[in-house]
Symmetry: C3
Subunit: 345 residues, 3 copies
Amino acid sequence: MNQSQLHTLLHALEIEFELKHLPSDFWLDSVASVEQATSEQAIYIQDSQHATALSVTKAGLVITTAHIAQTLDKPCLVVDKPRYVFAKIAQQLYKKTPVFQGAHPSSTIAETAQLDVSVTCESGVHIGEHSIIGANTWIHPNAVIYDNVRIGRDCLIGANAVIHAGTVIGDECLIESGVVIGGDGFGWEMHQGQWHKVPQVGRVMIGNRVSVGNNTCIDCGALSDTIIGDDVIIDNLVHVAHNVELGQGTAIAGQVGFAGSTKIGRYNTIAGQAGFAGHLSTPDNCHFLAKAGVTGSVSQTGAYAGFPHQPYKDWQKMNARQRQLDKMAKQLKQLQKQIDALSDS
Amino acid sequence: MNQSQLHTLLHALEIEFELKHLPSDFWLDSVASVEQATSEQAIYIQDSQHATALSVTKAGLVITTAHIAQTLDKPCLVVDKPRYVFAKIAQQLYKKTPVFQGAHPSSTIAETAQLDVSVTCESGVHIGEHSIIGANTWIHPNAVIYDNVRIGRDCLIGANAVIHAGTVIGDECLIESGVVIGGDGFGWEMHQGQWHKVPQVGRVMIGNRVSVGNNTCIDCGALSDTIIGDDVIIDNLVHVAHNVELGQGTAIAGQVGFAGSTKIGRYNTIAGQAGFAGHLSTPDNCHFLAKAGVTGSVSQTGAYAGFPHQPYKDWQKMNARQRQLDKMAKQLKQLQKQIDALSDS
Amino acid sequence: MNQSQLHTLLHALEIEFELKHLPSDFWLDSVASVEQATSEQAIYIQDSQHATALSVTKAGLVITTAHIAQTLDKPCLVVDKPRYVFAKIAQQLYKKTPVFQGAHPSSTIAETAQLDVSVTCESGVHIGEHSIIGANTWIHPNAVIYDNVRIGRDCLIGANAVIHAGTVIGDECLIESGVVIGGDGFGWEMHQGQWHKVPQVGRVMIGNRVSVGNNTCIDCGALSDTIIGDDVIIDNLVHVAHNVELGQGTAIAGQVGFAGSTKIGRYNTIAGQAGFAGHLSTPDNCHFLAKAGVTGSVSQTGAYAGFPHQPYKDWQKMNARQRQLDKMAKQLKQLQKQIDALSDS
């Protein structure tokens, strides 16, 4: 990326920026950490923690704030949100595109499937009847897409991912390796000592710009649909049960689990290994700490922790008190002794 | 499904039933929720919660109890267990069958494998030497079945599932997408700073009507076998270590984990993210709450929660007390003051 | 394995051993449990627990300690570490080798990939551009190996495993079924209500003799690399986020999760469902109990438990006290009454 291409990108982002100290032969080919960057690599710095490393960095471009740039005698790009601009520059530098369009000879595409001419199906891909795949979508090796699936444009479906029948996926989604979308929900009825399967006939409806991490599972709805809103991002090994709804912009870390029919508001952030019971709801902008066990609906926006969950500050206080329990028990004993002495006197 | 077909199904179930208000042109093609059902769809209602929705439903058949049916002027099917009957009707309406029998040209079937003529192997399937697959079993795309596996009749092996050598699976089992059965157990011995693998030579033995959810892993036994009883149902992303035994009819929710050699009784129900230490046992009919951490054998049937686990009621009481800890600490302080005052007086 | 072959193996192990009571026609073909072993099977016994079973075992070879062998009138192999020797004997008895070398016709190997002539690629395997695979490495069906991957000698890559671009794997590694290595880390930046992906450009660097369990996910680094040391063993369904470092010889049980940039020391042992927050470190030789939630760096070697984590002994004491909370609350009430009575008198 030369200086002119950088300008074009920055203008497209519609942000204010200033470029300082750029050499005439400016050229970026990749990004790196502050410590390891070379003269053709961009780095970003948002705070003053890395001051020492920054003073010796060999980076070709330091993306940073006006405050840090003040005292910096290196090529730099001054913006309000360095990490965001770094991300957009890196996206352009690392843009991956398939080496061919169309279907690899080892893939199996149903005759009734409708693939845009710009779609790529890598080796071993299976696409079922009547499925519709949008422009520039890239299906990675051995992914399995069942019948009647609709996938938008500019999506990536990862290697060995499985998209079950009827699933609807929007545009610019990233479904990573080994993900299973639209598998059967866990709906059973016990009768005479046997579990009888309640057919799961709903779909999974996924919005735009959704990302689903490796080996995560999102089950189809039982009767109505499981719904993943626009801009939801999900990490690895997450379990999303039938009829869950995840609100727009919600971010979910690794190994989180949602039981059936739970509805998470917009822009929630949920840390690793948290779990949500079924049939509950949360408002917008909540934060749940790691390993939280949410056992009922949350009515107020805020941070929650623990199992059963409670407001984060209460949980912190409770944790502190728990660690004083031994001391408290000894105090109790001591008080009893004092009282006994008083009674005897 | 017309009225005559419905009658045939209901008689086959050997249950008592009554059909009321059915129109002469009765016809069902699918099921739906109370709110969304149209005139060719069945719904079920087991309690009076949905009274309002029920009063305006357009469903072609309401499967419900005698009590609710009393006041209902709509086509209805009166039975003792509406959800069970709904499940059986839906199973018939949504019966999925493969579009071909035999092996897809892109599949790789060992010459010594014995597949019933009614077996379907979809694209990219691998079946190893001497494996035996029963009638009507349907192997989905890119599933891998190793050598010497035995799978019964009427099973479904999901897309990208892996069944390791020697595994035995009964009839009518549902192994969902991405499941790994018979992978090596975690058996190692440390010697001179290196872990040496203890070969895992046992098998996984799975009974009849077992269901295993997406991306779940069931390891093979170390020496003897890992055993999954009849009618066990397992949700997504569950970890079953070597030599675990899961008793008949036990139901296991998402992200539960079992360490090695643990033996779960019959008809246990285990909620999400619970974990069991190794070498313990539980009796029949236990219930374990979400996130429970079971650290030793359970001797009495009941409900258990917490980590380390305790009877559910004790755990509830403990939780309540924990939230009063701050108050208790302040009370202690107050008592101390009062005693000091008494002592001084 | 005859007696001469057994001798050869034992000498190669460079350990002291004694063989007693071996029949002239000694022959081993497999291993088994004490209870089920027959005359051509080896067993091991390390403690006196199985004394009764041992007295009636039909095993062809009992691998045991000098102490137990003293009173044993059966064919036995006396060594210091019976389970280690058992593992090495079993490794030889159960050595699995592919039935062919080279690439199965249904596999897709990039022309620029460099595979040693002894490599086996099973059906449906995909290998990308410029990837290099070492001698005797065995790629199982439907595994996907992207571009620029380097895999050493004598590795096994499991069925449906996915190895992303740039990953480096050492020698003698075991990557089990459904594993995803080098998937994108969870790096995002929020801007105007949308999450923008921060490209993950680091790699995963895996040492020698590393084992990764079924459906586990190890993400690539954001800028620098995710590093798995030599002799690390990882169980099923574990989540390793970007830039995590796992020290040599560390053992990780099922469903453990590591958030980004956390550095685990050497020879840590981590029990099931434990979770580690990001950007923390642990020293060598720590042990973490099941379900531990490690929220910050650990400075001293030891055993830790609970969430937030604390030294195991403190956690045990706290647990015991928590179960006395109800009693303590009642005691408090009683003390208050006594004090009130004293004050009134």
